[in-house]
Structures are given as structure tokens and as C-alpha cells.
């Protein structure tokens, strides 16, 4: 399925979408840019930390609410669009549901487990409980001790970028996991974006490396380079300069408009994006060496 079709069919206006669940790696930028191109509105974005993707979606006016522990630009600093929206309502006001990384993780874990909540000991005394009404301290019904109730979260869609997938939904992901698995089990629909499409036999050769059960995968998109500027272990490194450039080029709403027009608006697909990035820059990021996982024999006989 093309990214255009996957986003058009499975992420309508008003959806809650989990993105960037592996934290700073495997961020589905191509999916985010397609949401912007299709002018999606009133999205609720879910993810523990977002390394500039949420900032871009906010700047483009796609977002109604943020459910996250951290939104910004990890190596370069704050996210200017996030600040503008939160501080001055530009381009629109957003609702912010503050979390910590652990409460984000536990809420998705509970979502995938079908547990109504998970009790935790974190954040007790934090003002996060004052600004996020969904996180509440209570006496444990087990022993009366104070616990934090972290309610289950079930996103409408999770978008997961992985190294490889097959046409039936099977998928392999390695390196950074973060809360990818929890998000993939919690979400109602799962869009898998893969660097490579491989045969079913490749995926089945290593059933322990599968991130999300194949039958839960709603759409598979083949989108090489789709995580740039974030890294994909074994495929390409992080383009840290790109984050720095974004930081500089998004300081004002006008500057961000130009950035957006250049990298998203004027571009119809990820292939064109990579062309704009330049072959040399893309080659420099590519992983050239091989450090393969030690063999594991799955034979039964």
C-alpha cells in the first residue's frame, strides 16, 4: 500500500495516533509528512517523547491534543511550533496531557493487556497529577498504600517504522524498542512502515524478532528512508544536522511555513524528499558495515 493510501484510508480527521514509539529512532516521519500533506485535522498525538515530528504536525495545524512526556528537538533544544501553540495559540490552541515516559509506557501496556489501569509508584507529588486529570493517586485496594492509577490508553492508530516486513503483515524490528511493542498491541489499527519488503519466509525464520502480531497489522507501507532524519539500525544513521537546521528554520511561524513548503508541501512522495536531500548526503548516512546478529537455529529437526 502507498503511504498516501494508508493515511487516507486509516487515519481520518479526529484520530488519536501513536507515533515515535521507539523514541529517537525509527520515527515515522514519512507518515507524519503525509498527514500534513493530506491536511489532516484534530489529531490527538500520542508518544513518550517526540523528536520534532509532533512539532511539525502542530505547526501545520493538524493537532488538537498532545498526550506525551516530552515534545521538542532532542539534540537542538525546544520545539518552536509546540511553544507557539501552547503559549500563543498559533496556529491553534492545543490540549496538552502531560505524562512521564513511564506513565506513557504503562498506559500503552495496560491498553494492550486489556487491563483497566496499572498501579504505579511514580509521579506521586508531581504537579503532573494536577494538569493531567487522567493520572490520579488513590489508596491501593490491595493494602491501602498510595498508588498512582495509570489508565489504559488505546490509540486509534499506531504507526511503526521497522526494518522489514512481508506482504501479509509480518514484521521484524531490531535495535531501539522503547514502547513500540506496547503501542502496537494497544492500538486499534497498526500501520507498519518498512525499509524493505521481504518474503514471508524471512519473517517466519525468526518469530522472536516480530514486533507486532501480523494479523493486527492494518496496512503495510514500503517506504525506504521513511524515518529520516531519525536513524534505522543497520540501514542509516541519524542526520543530526537536519535537526539543527530545522531548529534554525522553525523559529518563526513564517520560517516554519517555508520549511514545510520545501520539505513537505512541494513534495509528493518520500522518493522526491530523498532526492531533495541529495544523493551525497543520503549516501553519507547509509550504514556500510555489517555487524550481523549471531546465528540462531530455529530448526525443529
Amino acid at each position: 500500500m502507498t503511504m498516501r493510501d494508508a493515511i487516507a484510508q486509516h487515519v481520518p480527521d479526529g484520530s488519536s495516533v501513536a507515533l515515535g514509539l521507539a523514541l529517537e529512532a525509527l520515527i515515522p516521519f514519512a507518515a507524519g509528512h503525509e498527514l500534513i500533506r493530506q491536511n489532516r485535522r484534530d489529531l490527538t498525538l500520542i508518544g513518550p517523547i517526540s523528536d520534532i515530528l509532533f512539532d511539525q504536525l502542530i505547526g501545520a495545524g493538524c493537532v488538537k491534543a498532545i498526550v506525551a512526556a516530552w515534545v521538542g528537538n532532542v539534540s537542538a533544544g525546544l520545539g518552536y511550533n509546540y511553544r507557539r501553540a501552547a503559549e500563543t495559540g498559533v496556529p491553534n490552541k492545543i490540549h496538552i496531557e502531560d505524562h512521564s515516559n513511564f506513565t506513557m509506557a504503562l498506559s500503552l501496556l495496560a491498553g494492550g493487556l486489556g487491563a483497566p489501569f496499572i498501579p504505579a509508584r511514580t509521579l506521586l507529588g508531581s504537579d503532573i497529577l494536577k494538569t493531567n486529570a487522567n493520572l490520579r493517586a488513590a489508596a491501593s485496594p490491595l493494602d491501602g498504600e498510595q498508588v498512582l492509577l495509570v489508565p489504559a490508553l488505546v490509540p486509534d492508530v499506531a504507526v511503526l517504522h521497522v526494518q522489514r516486513a512481508d506482504e501479509t503483515g509480518g514484521n521484524h524490528c531490531w535495535g531501539n524498542l522503547g514502547v513500540s511493542e506496547e503501542g502496537g498491541l494497544a492500538a486499534t489499527k497498526v500501520i507498519v512502515v518498512a525499509e524493505e519488503i521481504v518474503g514471508v519466509d524471512v519473517i517466519k525464520s525468526d518469530p522472536n524478532r516480530v514486533l507486532v502480531p501480523a494479523h493486527r497489522v492494518t496496512a503495510i507501507v514500503h517506504e525506504p528512508g521513511g524515518a529520516h532524519p531519525s536513524p534505522v539500525q543497520g540501514y542509516y544513521g541519524r542526520d543530526t544536522d537536519f535537526y539543527q537546521e530545522y531548529h534554525t528554520q522553525s523559529q518563526t511561524a513564517e520560517a516554519f511555513e517555508q520549511w514545510r513548503q520545501r520539505w513537505i508541501g512541494a513534495i509528493g512522495s518520500r522518493a522526491v524528499y530523498l532526492k531533495l536531500l541529495g544523493a551525497e548526503r543520503w549516501r553519507a548516512l547509509a550504514v556500510k558495515d555489517k555487524k550481523l546478529a549471531a546465528p540462531a537455529n530455529f530448526s525443529a529437526t
Partner: protein, 254 residues
């Protein structure tokens, strides 16, 4: 004669000395990451580093990291598990130490990384907790690394993201936090530690060349000072050598 060093380098070695051998440390990025490398090479060869993305390491990564998700942090990792694994072990009490930064830290070691001004109409929206509030809540102790001025060291944080000692020594237990609290604030001017009975920060050592009156002037509350104030021990040549190996372009430590 002693080598010259930057304030950041001094902060790194102070942080490194906080790490004991065999401890499990939530490392974080920037200066603590370099501190972890120094400690591993010198006095804490068996320390273990946890990262929120699920990475567990017993060696610093081969090249400098800009984020914990960078590919060099995966290569040669002891394990890449899920966030719930490392955070769960921390909640269980198995993380000894975590390093935190922040926009503001207060008299009782509470940290704000969320909002400046009214959260419903903030003057500045900061990025948020990330894992910081969890580390502050659940690690056996945490250390803050921060620039020393009176906008950062404040009487009381405007928004309490990551719990320190709240409003006093018994606050954590009252709130239901299972353990932990702030052990030190490492600043550009000195090292603050916390009174056991008061839960309040006091100046424990002062960095070489810094005047006490300047420290007091740049602190947002009437700062208590230890009766026997000594200078912060300077970096050794060996410590500096390792720092400069780890950060050869002085990206973080210039």
C-alpha cells in the same frame, strides 16, 4: 602544574565521582553520559548504564551520542529491551542513581521541566518530563546538573515536574514515593547537597576560583553553607584525558 579545564569538565568529573562501582545508573545524555564513561574507565568498572529507550550498556558507546537512540548506543549494548523493562526495574528499586537536568531546581531539589507561568496559559512551554519525573520518583538517589544562576536555582519551582524533597524531608514518604530523593546539585559554581533533617540544599563544596558571595548572590534563596566549606576537588589529568577522548570535538564540554 595542573592542566586547565572548563566548568563543564569539572561538572563531569564531579558527576563521575557520584557513580560507585557496580551501581546501576540511569545515564541520560550530554554531561552525565561523559561522566559515565569516566567512571567506567576509572573507579566504577562494573557500573551498568540504563537508557529510557530500553538500552542497557556496560561500556560507553564507541562514538559520541546526540540522542540515546543513536545507532552507536545500540551496537555492542548488553541488551535492547523495552522501556517498561528498565523503568520497571527502577520502580522495583534496582536503579541506584539517575542524572537530571532542568529549567529550574529549587531549595528542596524539586525540578521544573514543564511550564514557566500558569500551565493553562504558560509564558514558556518547556518540553516536559520525559523520563525525568520517573527517575526523580523511583531511583535510589538522583543528581541534578545545572547552570548556576538565580533563574535556575529558585526558592520554589513554578511547576513541580520531578519530585525532590517537596516542601521538606518527610514529604516524599507522605506522598507515597517509595524511596530516593536528591543527593546533589552540581552547578557551574559548586556542589550542593541536602540536609538529612531539613531536606534542604546547602553548599557543600565551591568550585576553585569561585567566591562564596557570588554563589549566594546567584542562588534564588538564602543559601545555607556547610560549616567547613572546601573547594571542589579539581579534575585529575587522567579524568581530563578520558573526557577529551570521549568528546574530542568538545561538543558538550567546551
Amino acid at each position: 602544574m595542573k592542566q586547565a579545564y572548563t566548568p563543564a569538565e569539572l561538572m563531569v568529573v564531579v558527576a563521575a565521582r557520584e557513580i560507585k562501582d557496580r551501581e546501576v545508573v540511569f545515564v541520560g545524555m550530554r554531561l552525565p553520559l561523559i561522566a559515565f564513561a569516566v567512571a567506567k574507565r576509572l573507579h566504577a568498572p562494573n557500573a551498568i548504564g540504563f537508557f529510557e529507550n530500553g538500552v542497557v550498556r556496560d561500556t560507553p558507546s564507541a562514538s559520541l551520542l546526540y540522542t540515546m537512540g543513536d545507532p552507536p548506543n545500540i551496537e555492542d549494548a548488553l541488551q535492547c529491551c523495552r522501556m517498561t523493562t528498565v523503568m520497571g526495574l527502577m520502580q522495583k528499586g534496582e536503579v541506584d542513581l539517575g542524572f537530571l537536568g532542568g529549567a529550574e531546581v529549587d531549595r528542596n531539589g524539586n525540578i521544573n521541566t514543564s511550564y514557566v507561568g500558569d500551565p493553562s496559559a504558560p509564558r514558556v512551554k518547556l518540553p516536559g518530563s520525559g523520563g525525568a519525573a520517573d527517575i526523580a520518583s523511583l531511583a535510589r538517589r538522583f543528581v541534578v546538573i545545572i547552570e548556576h544562576n538565580d533563574r535556575r536555582l529558585v526558592e520554589r519551582v513554578g511547576y513541580l515536574t520531578s519530585p525532590g524533597n517537596g516542601d521538606g524531608a518527610h514529604w516524599r514518604a507522605n506522598e507515597g514515593l517509595p524511596r530516593g530523593g536528591p543527593a546533589a546539585i552540581i552547578t557551574t559554581m559548586g556542589v550542593l547537597r541536602f540536609g538529612f533533617e531539613s531536606g534542604e540544599a546547602y553548599l557543600d563544596t565551591i568550585h576553585p576560583g569561585v567566591k562564596l558571595e557570588d554563589v549566594k548572590a546567584k542562588t534564588g534563596w538564602p543559601l545555607m553553607v556547610t560549616p567547613v566549606l572546601k573547594p571542589t576537588p579539581e579534575p585529575t589529568d587522567e579524568e581530563l584525558r578520558i573526557i577529551r577522548e570521549v568528546d574530542p570535538k568538545r561538543f558538550w564540554t567546551s
